[in-house]
């Protein structure tokens, strides 16, 4: 069966899955989710074969109108992202079968959501891309909306769909500008357009804003931290792990395939945008106390990191250094794949926590690792991976990016680009440190210490299928670290298809050698750690003999220990909040009430808040202005027939005078 046929089978499987949601029995057995999982698995296999082979599959579907036909064309770039989407979807769906409550609309929309995302990466022309893009927005809107009885959930869903809809207009404008130049709306023909000068820059800016909104770049990110926490965890995992990558795919498709090498400032702008998104993303993540909002802001951070890599690749390409550009592009792709792995793990972990501890507020959790050792272990691996620490897969992408930035600073790319590279290095290092703080806090407060509420105390291990998926993802994160060179070899054809340069070579003892210089062997590092961990303990035992280990109460200055004495998420992030107070502008209120004249306070009430700057300083005033002006314009319809006739006469007279 040809690859195109297999792709057709995938589309068919995912398309008919919603039919099973209508049947009550099938709904209870979660059949739509299982079909979605199998369809996604098949899609991943096809995509991986396309990327590895560097080939292209084309599959024409039908055409709803003469000027608009649905057709797919999966090239290595699209296939790489299709593989990410497929892989994430497999795990999210399997987890969803145990986690999600059966609801008819959700189970019907879920497979279509995966189908739409796969079609975005496989679209052959502008129409298919926009249909898939809007379809993805609509289906995820329905999933975020769910039964929609709480107000924040409805507002988050409508805000999300509204922003995506507006962004699509900009993205469509970018596509059409190129299509107008190339004379056809087919991506293959548009690739040859290679606009230049101001028009190309306009297309680039439109594409970055349009696709950046879906990717979650600051300042277009405000829908992300509101939509993810309200969506069910397996949907949030899919949105953060896969859907956000379609935004990155869009920027890649426009800047690398449709446009020529372009200006130098494109890459630099992307690097700055990425840096700002990364730093602010992780800072806001540190200030949140809802498990999934932390993960949502960390998605903004990781998208920022990927955008910095894209920016570096664009700067290299604009100076003609295609080998280095390929290396930076590989860094972006590798980090995208790794992010999909550990972000899915963490979101599904959040789902497990929600199911067993019935709360996502980390200040009410604590000590969950005793009740949920497997989930705790998996989330620990996920947290260390997302903080970019060595033996795990998060480190590989960050290392390749940092190494590319060092070579960008060193190579002959003009002073502005060099200075930007240095700033980006400093920024990303800061982001690395803050990410470590954020995820130590998230894992530590939620899983370690003593349980802070009776729900946390009564927590128990979730459904075996759920922690089975989590364990598998944890293994993937570890394997992704040591096995990174295999991933590099797999993704290399994408770089060669875009930039005709390999980007990185695979060294003999399983290491990665970047074309920009510098080499890394995650396997050797992992080996060193594995060997060095037990060695000293055994040596000391051999020399000083065995010692016993007894247990006793925690030391709390002589008073008997109570869980409320522990740090909470808010207090844990206080030092960072004070260090970055000029950026976060925290608000703080302490009310102290006394007993009559005695100096001892009767009650101390603390309330603090870190305002969401972009929302409160830009979006809410804009919305207010829109509603106010709408109210003013509404006075035009003031009810009097005379005024209405005046409008009619005015229209007639102006036309007679103007258009005579």
């Amino acid at each position: 069966m040809s690859a195109a046929g297999a792709l057709g089978v995938v589309l068919l499987v995912l398309a008919i899955a919603p039919a099973f949601a209508l049947h009550g029995g099938a709904l209870r057995l979660r059949v739509p989710l299982w079909i979605a999982a199998s369809g996604a698995a098949l899609a991943t296999v096809i995509a991986v074969r396309v990327v590895a082979g560097g080939s292209t599959i084309a599959l024409g579907l039908w055409s709803p109108a003469p000027y608009a036909d649905l057709a797919l064309r999966l090239d290595p770039l699209g296939a790489a992202f299709a593989a990410i989407i497929g892989g994430t979807a497999v795990f999210a769906s399997v987890f969803g079968t145990a986690y999600a409550h059966p609801r008819r609309v959700d189970d019907a929309a879920y497979p279509l959501f995966i189908l739409a995302m796969l079609m975005v990466t496989g679209a052959a022309n502008v129409f298919t891309f926009l249909v898939a893009w809007e379809g993805m927005a609509l289906t995820s809107f329905l999933l975020v909306l769910g039964d929609g009885d709480q107000r924040p959930r409805r507002h988050a869903a409508v805000l999300y769909l509204g922003m995506t809809h507006l962004a699509t207009v900009l993205a469509a404008a970018a596509f059409f500008l190129v299509a107008h130049e190339a004379g056809s709306t087919d991506f293959a023909k548009m690739a040859g357009a290679h606009l230049s000068g101001a028009r190309a820059s306009v297309v680039f800016v439109l594409a970055v804003i349009g696709f950046g909104t879906k990717a979650g770049l600051i300042p277009f990110h405000i829908w992300l931290p509101r939509a993810h926490p309200v969506a069910p965890s397996h949907v949030s995992a899919l949105m953060s792990g896969a859907m956000v990558k379609t935004g990155i795919y869009g920027i890649l498709r426009v800047s690398f395939v449709l446009l020529g090498p372009g200006e130098h400032w494109w890459g630099i702008a992307l690097i700055f945008a990425g840096c700002i998104s990364a730093i602010l993303g992780v800072l806001y993540a540190l200030m949140e106390h809802d498990f999934k909002r932390v993960l949502a802001y960390s998605t903004v951070e990781n998208v920022g990191i990927i955008t910095v890599a894209l920016g570096a690749a664009l700067v290299f390409r604009s100076y003609g250094l295609d080998a280095a550009a390929a290396a930076a592009l590989l860094a972006a792709l590798i980090h995208a794949v790794n992010h999909a792995a550990f972000k899915t793990l963490l979101f599904l972990g959040a789902g497990a926590v929600q199911r067993s501890a019935h709360t996502l507020n980390i200040d009410r959790c604590g000590g969950l690792i005793h009740a949920m050792p497997v989930t705790g272990g998996a989330v620990l691996v996920g947290s260390l991976a997302i903080a970019g620490l060595p033996p795990l897969n998060g480190f590989v992408g960050e290392w390749m990016l940092l190494r590319s930035l060092v070579s960008l600073a060193g190579s002959p790319v003009g002073s502005v680009a060099g200075a930007t590279a240095v700033l980006a290095l400093g920024g990303l290092a800061l982001v690395g440190g803050l990410a470590l703080a954020c995820f130590v806090r998230l894992f530590g407060i939620t899983f370690l210490g003593a349980p802070r509420s009776d729900e946390a105390a009564s927590a128990r291990e979730p459904h075996p299928l759920m922690y089975g998926v989590l364990a598998t993802l944890a293994v993937i994160c570890v394997a992704g670290g040591a096995g990174a060179p295999a991933l590099v070899r797999l993704l290399r054809p994408v770089a060669t298809s875009l930039l005709s340069a390999r980007g990185a070579a695979v060294e003999p003892w399983h290491g990665i050698a970047l074309d920009t210089g510098g080499s890394l062997s995650p396997a050797v590092i992992a080996l060193c750690l594995v060997v060095a961990a037990p060695l000293p303990w055994l040596a000391i035992r051999a020399i000083f003999g065995r010692t016993s280990r007894s247990s006793g109460p925690v030391w709390s200055t002589g008073v008997s220990f109570r869980p409320s004495m522990q740090y909470t998420g808010v207090s844990f992030s206080k030092p960072v909040r004070l260090f970055f107070r000029r950026v976060l502008l925290p608000e703080r209120q302490v009310l102290v009430s006394y007993h009559g004249t005695s100096p001892l306070p009767r009650l101390v009430k603390y309330s603090g808040r870190v305002p969401a700057l972009f929302e409160e300083r830009f979006y809410l005033p804009a919305r207010g202005a829109a509603i106010w002006s709408a109210g003013r314009i509404r006075l035009l319809q003031n009810g009097s027939v005379q005024v209405y006739l005046l409008y009619l006469m005015a229209a007639l007279v102006t036309l007679l005078v103007v258009a005579r």
Partner: protein
Amino acid sequence: MSIADAAMLAVLQLGALAGVAPLLNGLIRKVKARLQYRQGPPLLQNYYDLGKWWSRSEQVATSTSFVHRCAPAGVLATTLAATLFLPVFSWHTPLSSAGDLFVVVALFALGRALLTLGGMDSGSSFGQMGSSREVAVGALVEPILILSLVTLAIGADSTRLGEIVRVAAGQGGSAITPGWILAAAGFAVVLVAETGRIPVDNPDTHLELTMIHEAMLIEYSGRSLGMLHFSALLKQAILVVLLANVFLPFGLTAAGTGGHAIAAALVVGKVAGVGIGLAIVESVLAKTRLFELPDLLGMAAFATLLGAALVVLA
């Protein structure tokens, strides 16, 4: 360099650093005591402490999990692994093509993560306070550390520490550029912050509210406490050696030219010098308040940024 040479060099480096680390700390404490006109503990006091801790039995809090128990082994493992990527006696490092300066920094970060998680696991408010401050300070220190090393890396056009030292040694006197000076200043601040020395944290006190590094070890006892202290000493030794070799590269030779003995002596001399410098700095300065730290570390960060920019623009 064949596998055998690398293995021999690795064992040599590991043994030397592990052996010297407690002595270096003893030297620093002896000099500090002398500056404060008091006798001070004997040079080998650290060895006695380690021996005492390693032979003692442990007491563990009831609410701890495997994270608390495995953290010490993990932290020590990261520090030991870091020694394999450093140029100690010559500009050859045992695993030069496996990792570079980013790997060393990342290993330190992994160590910090495991240590903070271990500190938080017991649930004691001191452990969590120490962890919260450690990660906050760590977040500010990491950019300075990376930028200072990258300043030299850009000059040497490679991020392998061995390469950086070789190029710097090759340049001899001309290596002292404004960029190098700012990077060295930045690295010095990092050295003080990472080893918990006076302006950032006070290593000698046990006053819970002021300490950062010690607070995380408060729940540990016996063998685990010994391992954590040993990894702290080893880390301090690594950083001092890094400062000595990367920023004062003269005296290092290519391996195998018979100059091992001279090179070793020179390195020990430089390390002792830096140790004494540290002791002097500690005695002279007072501890800054935790929330004044951003200004100190911010200034260091700006210095290294300026240094890196100078190297790029030049």
